[in-house]
């Protein structure tokens, strides 16, 4: 047994290629079986006629993609993009100062980082339900405002775009904070001192040194927030009511209630394509400067 094991290890030692495959193997098998294969199946479904009780029939059609460009669905797509961009912008505006503070917090750093990650300890579903209790007419926010006499009647907070945006920002904020923190944390403080001796005020130092050097973190954070919010459906479902559909809700409905798998697949691929185009465009524009933005 141990002899065979030793021989195997020795064999791996001699062959770097075999070693690489042995390390990559499990992950690749997993991704191929549970990611690539389903993706291929969905791509195929999106091009086939719809089955009567779900599923598909043999054949080829572009009908589902054509159908997606109906104004009704385009409105949903537009709303999804607007909310996702809005969510990303708000996350950036709220998250950057937090990341900046955490990166400079000295010995409190670990505690603050812990607090940033703390929400992950509870399921996203539970946290979103908790927001309902906060925002509904008789919820905490309205109760406090009424008691303080700031308002006379409860504000309609729940089932509004505001509630959805709030929920999205709350859910994705840590994904913005963490990468920005990581890039600010490794910033060499003597760079700012050097800038100061060259006449830069602290504000100028931030604008010309700190912010440009934290851009990789900002970009990573924006992607980590924008991409999943493009695909989110839970938040819109629970906090937006049935009124404010996002593209994720549409896809979910097509697979579940409407039993129109091919159309759901087609909608999924449109979203994927949109995100891919956004990412690739960004990388193309960014590429020449990538060398300097170490």
């Amino acid at each position: 047994m141990s002899g065979a094991r030793r021989r195997l290890l020795a064999w791996l030692q001699r062959r770097p290629a075999a070693r690489a495959w042995a390390l990559l193997g499990p992950g690749m098998v997993w991704l191929v079986l549970f990611f690539l294969l389903p993706l291929v199946i969905m791509a195929a479904y999106s091009l086939m006629p719809r089955g009567t009780y779900g599923g598909v029939q043999p054949g080829f059609t572009l009908e589902h993609y054509r159908r997606f460009f109906d104004p009704l669905y385009l409105a949903i797509l537009r709303r999804t993009v607007v909310w996702s961009v809005g969510c990303t912008v708000v996350c950036l505006l709220v998250g950057y100062p937090v990341a900046y503070l955490v990166a400079r917090a000295g010995r409190w750093r670990a505690v603050l980082l812990f607090l940033v990650v703390l929400p992950f300890w509870t399921s996203f579903l539970v946290r979103t339900f908790a927001m309902i209790f906060l925002l509904r007419d008789g919820g905490l926010v309205n109760t406090v405002l009424l008691r303080l006499g700031l308002i006379d009647a409860p504000l309609t907070l729940l089932y509004t775009p505001f509630a959805v945006l709030l929920g999205l920002v709350y859910g994705f904020l840590p994904f913005m904070i963490l990468p920005i923190y990581a890039s600010l944390e490794k910033l060499d403080p003597t760079l700012l001192e050097a800038a100061e001796t060259l006449g830069a005020t602290p504000a100028a130092g931030f604008r010309r040194i700190t912010f440009p050097l934290s851009l990789p973190g900002v970009v990573a954070g924006c992607f980590l927030v924008f991409i999943p919010s493009m695909g989110s459906f839970l938040t819109a479902d629970l906090l937006g009511g049935a009124k404010q559909l996002m593209i994720g809700n549409l896809i979910q409905n097509q697979f579940a209630a409407a039993r129109n798998w091919p159309f759901g697949s087609a909608a999924s691929f449109v979203v994927t394509a949109l995100v891919l185009v956004a990412v690739i465009t960004y990388l193309r524009v960014r590429e020449p400067a990538a060398d300097g933005a170490r």
């Binding site: 001192e193 001796t197 830069a200 050097l213």
Partner: protein, 373 residues
């Protein structure tokens, strides 16, 4: 070698400046005056407070007590960006996202100089540090060697034509050959531009090579301030004697004063004479340091009567190239090192072998009387 007496107020003036971090006194009642155009070094081991002193000058730290004046202006409450001082850092601190040209232009852009002027001045600054603008202008810092990076950092500071340039161990991360070259270049720049250089280093050789004057710091205080010759040839304390160059230390009791000299009797055996010094009291302990190269070896009994003489045995002969160190065990067990000029061991070998009885001789005026033990 010695700078002329100051005709104008000192460019840098520290008066009783102190700075603590928590319980630690980093700088303790330091007073310094640095003259216009001087190459002034602050020398000391790590943790002696030299870097904190420089950071106080730069404005990165505020003093707890005392006063800092630059060009006669009190700057205690001025931030670094208001002081108009140039600085070069040990780790270069080049902006990694900006090209060489943009790094050097940074301060000029901050002052909103016109683009044409910036271009000309950046080129001139790069030329000053011997970097060809055509080759290096567009490079990123990551594409430069350590020496080139430090040249860019120097150009970035000098392009603003500061009155005072602070240098925090700027050559510490550069290899020996290049370091020696850049030492001479820095010295030349200092003389050519008339800029006052304040140079922090832990390398005593570097400080001796470049400085007009040196402040040796020990435990947050200035242990001695003087020209390189004063520091090397007349160290005030054992710390300074030990830190700058090698020294033989000897002690004894002041026995008798005659003809401007004191006769000191060693605890074990033997007597030596030292020049008169304010620190010596009749019957008190005397500490001296003698540089190895100021001692000589003789056959026992051959030492000229004007010199001090102590007997011993050769314990080791160490070949060092330029010099040969002979380690002599004195009769009372102490060791001294005598450095002899190497006149060619193949043609004129030293007559001393291990185990030979010898006498160590040196002139009384070459004794450096120390103020402490």
């Amino acid at each position: 070698m010695a700078a002329p007496p100051p005709p104008s107020p000192p460019v840098v003036q520290l008066t009783q400046v102190s700075k603590s971090f928590g319980e630690v006194r980093a700088v303790d009642r330091v007073s310094l005056e640095i003259r216009r155009g001087e190459f002034f070094s602050i020398l000391g081991p790590s943790g002696c407070g030299k870097t904190t002193t420089l950071r106080l000058l730069a404005g990165f730290e505020q003093p707890d007590a005392g006063e800092i004046r630059l060009l006669g202006r009190r700057v205690n409450d001025e931030r670094a960006y208001q002081r108009g001082i140039g600085m070069v850092f040990q780790n270069y601190a080049l902006f990694p996202h900006l090209s060489v040209e943009r790094n050097v232009a940074f301060g000029l852009e901050q002052r909103r100089r016109p683009a044409a002027e910036i271009r000309v001045r950046v080129e001139r600054a790069l030329g000053m540090v011997r970097l060809d603008p055509a080759t290096y202008r567009a490079r990123m810092p990551a594409q430069l060697s350590g020496g080139q990076r430090q040249r860019v950092a120097l150009a970035r500071a000098l392009v603003l034509e500061p009155e005072i340039l602070l240098l925090d161990e700027p050559l510490g991360a550069i290899d020996l050959q290049l370091r020696k070259e850049m030492q001479l270049e820095l010295k030349a720049l200092n003389q050519q531009l008339g800029t006052t250089f304040v140079y922090v280093t832990h390398d005593q050789e570097e400080a001796l090579t470049m400085s007009d004057r040196i402040a040796v710091m020990e435990q947050a205080r200035v242990a001695q301030l003087g020209t390189p010759a004063e520091i090397y040839e007349s160290p005030r304390t054992a710390f300074v004697a030990r830190f700058i160059g090698a020294s033989n230390f000897m002690t004894g009791v002041a026995a008798r004063r005659s003809g401007g000299q004191w006769e000191v009797s060693r605890p074990g055996d033997g007597v030596f004479r030292v020049p008169d010094h304010a620190a010596i009291r009749q019957g008190g302990e005397v500490w001296i340091a003698v540089r190895p190269e100021w001692m000589d070896l003789w056959r026992p009994g051959d030492v000229p009567p004007a010199e001090n003489s102590l007997g011993g045995v050769v314990r080791e002969v160490i070949y060092r190239g330029e010099t040969i160190h002979v380690l002599v065990g004195l009769t009372d067990g102490e060791d001294v090192t005598v450095a002899l000029r190497n006149e060619g061991q193949l043609s004129k070998p030293l007559p001393w072998r291990r185990g030979d009885p010898v006498a160590v001789g040196w002139l009384p005026e070459d004794c450096q009387v120390l103020e402490d033990g």
